[in-house]
Symmetry: C2
């Protein structure tokens, strides 16, 4: 290129260079390192390299672009226009050639590394850089005088047409190679996986130019539910989302009972492995059906899960995770073929990636939260709590990140609560107790109205009021404390002590009546002293974990709190703070990250660099083991009370301080029992 050659300026990158007359725009983009997509390698058949030339004066760039700055619209473009249509002003970058100074815009959909904006406002943007990409190649036909194999000629084509070396292919691909090459008349589109430093691997192939898309699954494999997002690997869009119950529940509700099952029953671990893999196959088939795609287009899957699920997914006995020192069989990220996991619903050569585990109790799900929420990049000190049956807790900023897990138990998910239920239509999810009348109003899942609003009863007639879910019980306990129905130790007062007939005796203790549906054949929904104790244990464990990390970090307050987990999205930060689940921070410093673990899985699915990032980050995280830390016990016991002296949200209540009540009966109800792990 010389100073007389036309100047080509690409936007939005601003990259520029001079190119000889007649240079295709795609070639110029390639040479400048401009992010312009192409699957067919410039043959004018894939239309991925669409660009928009701009004409006129560009003082900012110091050029004037004439109408003839690009070659004329050609027959290839016309054919594509007739067949599929091009947006106004668009050209094919491989067909339009440079004829004069020109400014060329690369629209987002033509960028390989396009950015995918997530819904949550606080969240990071995902930049597309998936491990798998499509390449169209034309392969030399076989020849008796040069008798190399079809695979070797395909490799040669990938080298000469895309400069990609050392490509490998597994047997399922090798088996399909010969018929596909012949069906495509020696042209083929290959899905090439370059997920780590191993040689690139062909994971799928189609005759001719493949235009059916390319998909991946981001899977959050929880103890209770398995959630999957089917993601378009070219655009980053979530095409479909679906969930399924983890069938391992029949072997034990929580993780430790599943580990016990494996310990007590020879082969029990493999039984659980089979169960979860079957469920994953069902889920994959369902989600592909929902999205109306062929499952053979799913070429990748990324998993996040806790350590026990991690081992059970991989077919490793989790028994060591049930006893100190909680040794993982492997902590690093794991990559393999779908066939290795018996995921028969996916192509056998689909590539699976499982995020690394942080420690024996802090799994790939916590790593995924770290990837999504990036505490290590935070300027201020962030506490990130992923609330579930186990709580994963991360504390950190740019200087250092700490992590632990805390055995909160299933109370936060509505389990082990007298009127508790899973979050489903009919479940009370929010509650307010009038501090004067001590009456409760509430909202149930499936209806936007409060129970004291017009139409509530009509709208909930079908579902009924069936119970109280995790977020509902947290609000109920906090509201009871605010309304003076609970003393700081968590004791429910009698009708006499509280001045409401809603407090009724129940054995040696009392219960508070939220709603009596017996007249309509529904349940009587109360909060019992046992429920209060269960929530106190759970919140103490959560708080103690957070405090332990703060001790390690040498701080007694944090700058902000992020509530993550499917459940985190529904917890009222206000009530969580009244309850003492989380350390005190200004209300506007509590945010919800939604299903941050699932988001982390999506990020790792869409961006191979993010995999390397989280593999590096987990090594730098300081792991704190709650099970062996005496201060954890200390914090746990100290956190049992609900001692807030000041109402943190006076705008919602008529009182400025929490009531100074005490319902001690002299009985044994003052102390909390310690729930033990396992």
């Amino acid at each position: 290129m010389t100073a007389k050659d036309p100047l080509v300026i690409f936007t939005p990158s601003g990259k520029r260079g001079r190119f000889p007359l007649g240079t295709p725009v795609l070639t110029a983009a390639r040479q400048l390192g401009v992010d312009l997509d192409s699957v067919c390698g410039g043959r004018g058949i894939c239309s991925k390299c669409q660009i928009t030339p701009a004409f006129g004066d560009f003082p900012k760039h110091g050029v004037t672009v004439s109408d003839t700055a690009l070659s004329e619209w050609n027959s290839v473009e016309q054919r594509y226009q007739d067949k599929r249509g091009l947006k106004a002003g668009r050209r094919l970058g491989c067909q339009a050639t440079v004829q004069g100074d020109v400014v060329i815009d690369v629209p987002p959909e033509s960028q390989v590394h396009r950015q995918v904006v997530r819904k949550a406002a606080s969240a990071r943007v995902i930049e597309m850089d998936p491990a798998t990409r499509l390449y169209y190649v034309e392969v030399q036909e076989p020849d008796m005088h040069e008798p190399t194999g079809d695979l070797e000629r395909l490799r040669k084509a990938l080298k000469s047409q895309w400069d990609i070396d050392d490509v490998t292919a597994d047997f399922p691909i090798l088996r399909r190679l010969q018929p596909v090459l012949r069906k495509g008349n020696w042209s083929v589109t290959v899905a090439l996986w370059k997920g780590d430093d191993r040689p690139p691997r062909i994971t799928a192939l189609w005759p001719g130019l493949h235009e059916g898309g390319l998909f991946g699954l981001a899977i959050d494999l929880g103890s209770t539910t398995i959630a999957a997002h089917l993601t378009n690997l070219e655009t980053g869009e979530v095409t479909a989302s679906s969930g399924i119950m983890n069938p391992q529940i029949r072997f034990g509700e929580d993780l430790m009972s599943r580990v016990s099952y494996a310990m007590m029953n020879p082969g029990g671990d493999l039984e659980m492995t089979r169960a979860v893999r079957e469920a994953l196959n069902t889920l994959a088939v369902e989600i592909a059906k929902d999205a109306e795609i062929d499952p053979s287009l799913i070429v990748e899957a990324v998993f996040v899960c806790n350590p026990v699920m991690h081992h059970l997914l991989l077919g490793i006995d989790p028994v060591e995770l049930g006893q100190a020192p909680f040794a993982l069989a492997t902590s690093n990220a794991v990559a393999m073929n779908a066939a290795n996991l018996d995921l028969a619903a996916l192509p056998a050569s689909a590539q699976v990636y499982v995020l690394p585990c942080i420690a024996g109790h802090v799994g790939a799900d916590a790593a995924a939260v770290a990837l999504s929420e990036e505490p290590g990049k935070s300027e201020d000190l962030a506490l990130i709590v992923d609330v579930g049956t186990n709580a994963e807790i991360l504390l950190g900023d740019k200087t250092r990140v700490l992590a632990c897990s805390s055995p909160t138990g299933p109370a936060f998910e509505g389990a082990q609560i007298s009127s508790g239920q899973r979050a489903a239509p009919g479940a009370i999810e929010a509650i307010r107790i009038d501090p004067v009348s001590k009456d409760a109003r509430f909202r149930v899942i499936g209806c936007d109205k409060w129970s004291d609003e017009d139409g509530f009863w009509e709208e909930t007639a079908q579902t009924g009021i069936t119970g109280i879910c995790g977020s509902g019980i947290i609000e109920a306990v906090a509201e009871m404390r605010l309304a003076g129905l609970l003393d700081p130790k968590g004791l429910i007062g009698s009708a006499e002590q509280t001045g409401t007939e809603r407090c009724t005796p129940e054995g040696r203790t009392h219960a508070y009546l939220i709603h009596d549906g017996t007249a309509e054949g529904g349940p009587r929904i109360t909060v019992t002293q046992g429920d209060i104790r269960a929530i106190q244990l759970a919140k103490s464990a959560l708080y103690a974990g957070a405090r332990l990390l703060m001790d390690e970090r040498g701080v007694d307050k944090v700058d902000r709190v992020v509530l993550a987990g499917a459940f985190g999205a529904h917890i009222s930060p206000l009530h969580a703070m009244v309850l003492g689940m989380i350390p005190d921070v200004p209300l506007d410093k509590v945010t919800s990250a939604g299903n941050a673990a699932g988001t982390g899985a999506r990020i790792a699915l869409c961006n191979v660099g993010a995999r390397r990032e989280i593999e590096r980050v987990v090594r730098e995280i300081t792991k704190v083991e709650t099970a062996i830390e005496p201060r954890f016990q200390e914090h746990f016991v100290n956190a049992n009370a609900i001692p807030h002296a000041t109402d943190p949200f006076p705008e919602l209540h008529s009182i400025a301080t929490l009531p100074d009540v005490s319902f001690n009966t002299g009985g044994g109800e003052g102390g909390g029992r310690r729930r033990r792990r396992g």
Copy 2:
């Protein structure tokens, strides 16, 4: 080390260096690059590093070795001596330390790269350098404060104790890792495979020090039979050999009928794949039983086979190999886990290597012959013929090697011959016809005597005389020609023409009676005109292939001939030359290489460098496709006759020239029918 430090001289390598007082002999050997084995890394438990110090004057080396040149016999050595015994004069290299100038001999069994001498005198020596070796390591126990996985700590131990990086492990290993580490109290022996440029891979592991040996299978997967050699990967010894029929025979006797079966029956290729894999499992179980080893000790398998068997083994439809241009799905060497081939008898993580194919008709078996016989290193021009249902033919010397295959058909294996049978007890394997009496004497498999020797009939009474095998029919035809029973065109004369009642009419032609066993209830064994024709077709195809390579090379004679193949070992070179199977060379220039393909498999099993060598060599071989070469047809037709004018082995016969007879009857029997491929 300084000039004052003791001088340590190792034999037989002659490597020498000075080392500080107290340096263990193993350490000195390592630093000098002396080939001294150690599995335990110098901990005094594996006893692989045994050495023999020599004392006294060594004028050749310029040293005198005193009795105190090595440290005293220590307790570790005593313990080993008490437990297992050491040969007289032996020391453990990791325990004995240098105390003065010393000459140390490393006996062959202490060398990693020891040489294995093969039985065949002409054959290359195999130098041991297997892909898999044992390493003993002590792994750090897990610790809650440093919660890495067990695999990661094992990797760290391999790095720190053996300087081996980036070790990987498949799921079957990962699943066993935790119990094995605990059973071995955190010491473990791993079998580490370093077969190519991929990261080293753990393929087996045992608690503590493993002393049960390490084995590999070298498998010659033929169309008709599958032969395996169980080889000790530490010593190179063949521990057991076993064979089994290829069960694919039920789908077709020859390769092209199997390809046809796959073409005509959807899924037929997979049916054949399952059949051969099942047979391989049976064979692996049997051979391990023969050798009294646990099959879990078989950590590698190397396969050689023709292209059709290659595809059927790998689960690839061989249909393209049945039609021009005979395209292989892949021609390169293939490496994989045993589990990928459903070889359930082997550990799932055992490593399989399949030699590269040379061309669509010249397979990994021919590559193995090239590896074993090394035509590319020959000073003189060698013709190597691997005789089987297809003949693989290699012609070359240091300057250039050519290869082709020729469709000889099954006649050389006794099939399609009227009295033909497989080589088994009772089969005639050698025959001589008296040129005067025209009577035949013969030898059968299972008896060393000739039929005219005393005791022959008693010794063969049990088996009987059941038929004639491949080598027998070749000798019979050649002897008939020598005895004047056949004319140069291959016509059998009548009793009148030949002067013997053994020539009897059979339709319009004649047959020669070798042996009439009907009186004892046995068969009447004759050579019919059809048999002569079948052998003529087979030998013409073989000869035409060899001639075609000679044409390509521009020569009309070769310096030597190597007959390979299980059958090659039994062909009489003399008769082969009379028959015109091979070009004329001096008799002492015809050698047998035995099962050269199987030997090639063993070499690749024992020496990983040999795999790289053959992968390079096959690319340099000039492939000649007989199916499309008009000159092949020409040579084929011209080779039909048996025109030898001079008896090449007068010492065995009383005549100096072949009889000038002609039995033309004027009928249509003069020309050969052309057998066509497929």
